[in-house]
């Protein structure tokens, strides 16, 4: 075990090596859910190096459209430029560091800094520099040509989902997602047109960001208890929330999720069972691969919640939206954006297939509002739990307690329920039916692995000088 992980933190209270060892064996030191020192490490080693979701291409559908999104404290302008290309630039003027865009959504051909009037095209290029000749002596003093707002160090997308990484050497997004992409398609590629993403609703909760990520990755066990009330009021066709244990959890690549077991039927019947009209089912059959269809049609598992490391989650469910027996499916994309070790900004979007009938889109949106988001009846009870947990994790006793997160395995590591075979589950990765914490352990093991690696300091970036030729003019 490398020891440099504690260097530079002489007042560290945490035995980091011990913490990571405990996490890897599924015994979670409770203080990791409210620990400033660990959060400082998370900022650098997780959010400074992972692929972080910022927007979907449908949010910037036409040239000039932009949204402003953050990776922790760093603000980025996500634009579609006049050529139709997606760009992500650090929202900080190259001159004095003012935010060049102070709105969060809009359409603009240029961004002009209100401080000294430097202006940038929506592709990031610096095009306006007042008194360039008088003040700087022109190009000899400040090289305007070729200057642009700092681009996100890495930018990539999958099914229109735009991710950025602060690491210029980040692996390609497809490699980062790995086999989880198989499951991401269910949420984001129900037709060749993909999704329209609407929102987000944004709100801040006094909870650590990891709790939501873990919950969506694999916590089928909480459903019968936490969400009893939504079953009691008749929002679901299934009379008992403990149906969840018949579903499967899977972990594949850099993410994992939960499923529901559906009643007997083929792909069409099972997909209609959760409320998709036949015309959408037909399009899914064209866009989903044979293996993706077999998970539903043969294996009988329908995707529900999921998380991609570190902080992007999904949910798919099918409540009643009127006083009838019909159910309507909805999809939500959500991000657990850390504010501090004990506060998270939740960004919750509604996603719907772009080719879905208008009536379906409206009712699916209603289903979303009733279940998830700032007013969602599921989400209300989840957040209450997470705030309480975070608050309790701050104290001295929480430093002693190791939370048992070993559900699904015996003391010697034997699985309570054996993993599903390739014939029982046609998706990639490892899947288990029944209640378990495999996925939470997978997520937190990644968390430990990221924190437990040597830091790589970022290179400074100079602008305007002739430094690219070697010598900065001082």
């Amino acid at each position: 075990m490398t020891r440099d992980i504690t260097e530079g933190a002489p007042d560290a209270m945490t035995d980091l090596a011990g913490t990571f060892t405990d996490v890897r064996r599924g015994m979670i030191p409770a203080h990791i859910y409210n620990d400033r020192e660990l959060f400082e490490r998370e900022k650098k080693e997780i959010f400074g190096r992972s692929w972080i979701f910022v927007a979907h291409e449908s949010e910037v559908a036409t040239p000039g459209d932009y949204v402003v999104r953050r990776v922790l404290r760093d603000s980025f302008i996500i634009t579609r430029d006049e050529q139709g290309d997606i760009r992500a630039h650090f929202n900080m003027c190259l001159h004095r560091g003012m935010q060049v865009c102070r709105a969060e959504i809009g359409n603009a051909s240029h961004f002009r800094c209100p401080y000294h009037g430097w202006s940038y095209r929506n592709d990031g290029r610096l095009v306006g520099l007042p008194f360039h000749q008088d003040a700087y002596g022109g190009e000899a003093g400040f090289q305007r040509k070729g200057q642009r707002l700092l681009p996100a160090p890495s930018l990539d997308s999958y099914n229109g989902m735009i991710f950025i990484s602060l690491d210029p050497d980040a692996p390609p997004l497809a490699e980062y997602l790995g086999d989880f992409a198989f499951y991401l398609d269910y949420y984001t590629k129900q037709s060749p047109s993909g999704i329209d993403l609407r929102g987000p609703q944004r709100w801040r909760i006094k909870a650590n960001w990891k709790i939501g990520a873990e919950n969506f990755a694999g916590d089928m066990y909480h459903t019968p208890q936490t969400h009893t009330s939504v079953v009691e009021i008749g929002l679901f066709r299934e009379p008992k929330a403990e149906k969840r244990k018949d579903g499967a959890t899977y972990w594949a690549g850099n993410g994992g999720g939960t499923t529901y077991k559906l009643p007997p039927g083929d792909f069409d019947e099972r997909t209609r069972y959760v409320g998709y009209p036949q015309e959408m089912v037909e399009r899914m059959k064209k866009t989903l691969t044979e293996a993706q269809q077999r998970v539903i049609g043969e294996d009988g598992f329908m995707i529900s919640a999921a998380t991609v490391f570190p902080n992007l989650s999904f949910v798919h469910n099918w409540p009643r939206v009127a006083d009838s027996d019909d159910v309507l499916p909805f999809i939500s994309v959500r991000q657990w954006q850390p504010i501090s070790e004990n506060e998270t900004e939740v960004l919750s979007w509604f996603a719907v297939d772009a080719e879905a009938p208008e009536e379906f889109k409206a009712l699916s949106y209603k289903a979303y509002l009733m279940c998830f988001g700032s007013t969602g009846m599921f989400e209300q009870d989840d957040v209450e739990n997470w705030v309480s947990l975070t608050n309790t994790a701050a104290g001295a006793m929480a430093r002693r307690l190791r939370l048992n997160s070993r559900m699904g395995i015996l003391a010697d590591g034997t699985e309570v329920t054996p993993a599903l075979s390739a014939e029982q589950f046609h998706g990639p990765g490892t899947a288990h039916t029944g209640y378990s914490e495999y996925n939470q352990r997978e997520l937190l093991t990644r968390w430990a692995d990221h924190l437990d690696r040597p830091a790589t300091p970022a290179e400074p970036l100079e602008v305007g000088t002739l430094a690219s030729g070697g010598q900065a003019q001082v």
């Binding site: 969060e104 709100w203 006094k206 929002l235 900004e345 007013t375 209300q380 009870d381 957040v383």
Partner: protein, 192 residues
């Protein structure tokens, strides 16, 4: 002006389209006094979380809308998130929300919050229909949970359409324009 939010919202097709006509009614106009009293009584019901009684004060065609506010450049022409709201409700979805609070398993309100809906800036307008009034108000909700957590606030302006029925005035349409883009409350397990 806010009535247009209802007509543009995703789920507002069923909502009444009646709008204000003319300037504010005098503060001693009996219609203003009735509307103001209605709002004060409602604030009391919401503070007490007497949601069963509150549901009775809504018409069957209620549209209860709370758009998501967004920060946009001056002159952008919009300041709410296109196609997204916090609440975009009809009587059915409101009734499910209320029914949930009445179960013994709505954990987010067990123990219950302490709520105070502060009401001010009430302005009443006549409409083209004698049985309808438009009422604007400001509301500031203070919500406190548990013993040591600081309270949280929601500030919002509201535009309501009140309808005179056989059972007295009822709320037929409400648009809530919250004053924050990012809510500072852990959830909206409350009504405004």
């Amino acid at each position: 002006m806010t009535a247009t939010h209802s007509s543009r919202s995703v789920l507002g097709a069923h909502a009444s389209r009646i709008e204000r006509a003319g300037s504010t009614l005098a503060f001693d106009d009996s219609r203003h006094l009735q509307a103001h009293r209605w709002l004060v009584d409602e604030a009391w019901l919401l503070d007490a979380q007497d949601y069963t009684a509150w549901l009775e004060t809504l018409t069957d065609d209620i549209h209860y809308l709370m758009p998501v506010r967004v920060t946009t450049a001056l002159g952008a022409g919009f300041d709410t998130s296109p196609g997204m709201a916090h609440f975009d409700e009809n009587k059915y979805s409101l009734s499910r929300r209320v029914a949930r609070f009445l179960t013994e398993h709505a954990w987010t309100e067990d123990p219950p919050s302490r709520l105070r809906h502060h009401l001010s800036n009430v302005r009443t307008f006549a409409t083209t229909d004698a049985e309808h009034l438009v009422v604007e108000s400001a509301t500031l909700l203070f919500r406190n949970r548990g013993d040591v957590h600081p309270g949280s606030l929601v500030s919002a302006g509201r535009e309501d359409l009140l309808r005179n029925t056989a059972d007295g005035w009822k709320l037929a349409r409400r648009t809530i324009l919250v004053d924050e883009s990012v809510m500072r409350m852990q959830n909206l397990a409350i009504f405004l």
